[in-house]
Symmetry: C2
Subunit: 227 residues, 2 copies
Amino acid sequence: MSPLVVGARIRADIISGVLEPGTKLRETALAEQYAVSRIPVREALRSLEAEGLVESRPYVGSIVAPSPIEDAEDLFEIRIVLESATARRAAKRAAAHAGGGEPDPRWRTVRKEINEILEAGDAVIAEGRFEDLAVLNMRFHFAIAELSGSLSLISLLRQISGKIEWLYSLNVSRRGTQAWPEHRAILAAVDAGQETNAAALMGAHVARSRDAYFAMMAERAESGVDE
Amino acid sequence: MSPLVVGARIRADIISGVLEPGTKLRETALAEQYAVSRIPVREALRSLEAEGLVESRPYVGSIVAPSPIEDAEDLFEIRIVLESATARRAAKRAAAHAGGGEPDPRWRTVRKEINEILEAGDAVIAEGRFEDLAVLNMRFHFAIAELSGSLSLISLLRQISGKIEWLYSLNVSRRGTQAWPEHRAILAAVDAGQETNAAALMGAHVARSRDAYFAMMAERAESGVDE
DNA sequence: TGAGGTTAGATTGTATGCAATAGTCTCAGA
DNA sequence: TCTGAGACTATTGCATACAATCTAACCTCA
């Protein structure tokens, strides 16, 4: 396996629940598992530590961090503010482009990518392959963040959506198909350069996502899945 | 120099402006500068990348990320929500301790540390050593986050306050002395287990900090410091 | 029997050396 | 003069080897 992506693999194993919170992450074991040396493993662990997915102590080692499930409400609330900001700033840049006529090649690339994402999502829904929708959803939100042009906001989104993905680890979200059409409305506001409208639409979109999450959790609790 | 802290040094150089945005960070140069090998430098760069202070591309290298100054408003807004959450959860835990009577040694340690921080701040103000207040202020906010018991929120606070510290890089905040007494009110609400009150006080505290930042920036612009 | 110090093993931290890749510079050809 | 292909160099990515440190088991002694 390509050593450059070993971090992504470990992250996926944590988020998907293969590695449970509290599990000790021994460098040599991980190195052997992914058929690389300890160096890339250590670098991956440093990234995961900064992201809050792993807890490390010098000369002692790393363990998988506790699940953020207790913080679900707060995480969603922060995400609402954060993604409203990315949408607002994306709209602002769109308006600047429309007025000033700057080219900005990166912007055009990402903007095109969003069209592809939306169409891919439509196709996935039409064919009923709902399990592929989660990653497309994520890509849409990151693409909007990239349109905002702010690396700070992107890196915050990376951190927080990693944790929110973790929240969903054991559940397949069924909200996807309802939520998908909302993306086009958000994008339309961004394209139109309507800053406050884009921010409001995105905020409401994420808020509904939060509500769906808690409704699902309540349902799970009702049917006694865990306890 | 102890290699384990080389990351903190690089971070400090970025935040303080010694390393300007766009500067190429060559591993061998940094290794020589801090008298270590490239390995600890690389691990530090991975952490900084995850924090959004550095941008890396495989086989090309790392550069200092653009300053987050454009995102100041959004960052403060997110911080208001985030720190309201840490204060609320800290209060919740305090209430649980008062009722249930759990011991929790870590909580007691941090709680004592806060007292020391507050007294140290008073002393610093009395002696006029205002330049030491910034780090004490930071320690107070992180200590509250630790009382919340949530690693997710702590790691988000780490990331966002790194960026907000960066915003202040060229300015010495003069708000410190006015803001300091507010800390005691926040702590009192936490200790009393008043969740909503603690959250509201913390939110207002951070909002005032934001306002002071923008007032200072406006003043700087007036007097033509930069342009 | 139990408390405290001690040593062996396991694990992390770092240095060195080599492999892989990207960017650059040169030079032939049109 | 411009263009493109190819080698060259600087830099990053990684594997191996060794040093530093922690943890736990054991042993000593009161």
